[in-house]
Amino acid sequence: MSLLALLQTVSSWAPIVFIRDSKYGMPAVQSFHLLGLTMLLATVVALNLRLVRLALSDYGLSRVAGQLKPWTLGAIILVISSGLLIFLATPRKYVDSHPFRLKMLLLCGALFFHFAVLRRFTAADSVAPPRPVGFLVACLSLTLWFGVGWAGRAIAFIP
């Protein structure tokens, strides 16, 4: 079965049809997506500002990271699951969309950078990076995550 045929099968599955066709289905799922985005980026911003000592500098970096971690992970699960529902409910809007492809690319980059690079600097046994390195890491992390958001907004405006 081709990918497109598989998508069509899934998007005609009853719960997905319910989300797409009920009056408040899509707004509800979109609201969850937005709530997840708010929480996810809030924790990412807080962690990066702590990394470069622009905020929360009274608290240890690994402690701040540890406290934010469950909320970041929870928010990632919320944005991805709601995003998947939005995609499956209206796949035609996304399969050929250039901003959507960019968004997925940036999302992979952001997730990789968060767990493979940023976490290395914020783990309990890590040494705080020199200031310029911290700034570079924070800039890359914020650019990737906010890039995901902007690319997501662009889906509505650019084909």
Binding site: Y24, M26, P27, T38, M39, L41, A42, Y59, R153
Partner: protein, 163 residues
Amino acid sequence: MSLFDWCQWLQHTRFATTITESDWLFPLIEGSHILTLPISVGMILIADLRLLGLAFCSETTGRIVPSFLRLSRIGFPIMFLTGGLLFVTQAGKAYANPFFRTKMIFLLLAAINAAVYQKLFFPKMADWDSGRGAPPGAKFCAVFSLALWVGVIVCGRTMAYQF
């Protein structure tokens, strides 16, 4: 001139139509409004969660909550500016939109809730840390704040489906 007439007039001013007709101004303002959510509402949510003992429990309330409230002050001016501009471009349509009206009521209640918190609990926060944490009244404010801000986001997103 009724409020509705004024909204209609506002939406058709040269200023509003310049934004609406521009290829990039409206998307830029709307995108900024949405992507400032984490730096405004998001920071308030984290502060509320701390008051409820659900996040940052290892840190003292009296110090960590003000840190997050300070961060939210970066975002809120941008929220009000971009939100105001979005309203100007769609004032006539927003006027009758039930979700827009609900969002405004929630925002008003959130402001009152924040003012009450500021007056009653903020000055005493330093005393909480030796004891059991925030008193029930402060926790009630936090629950109310969480519910209102979630409501603001839900109404804000849903109103766009009715335009």
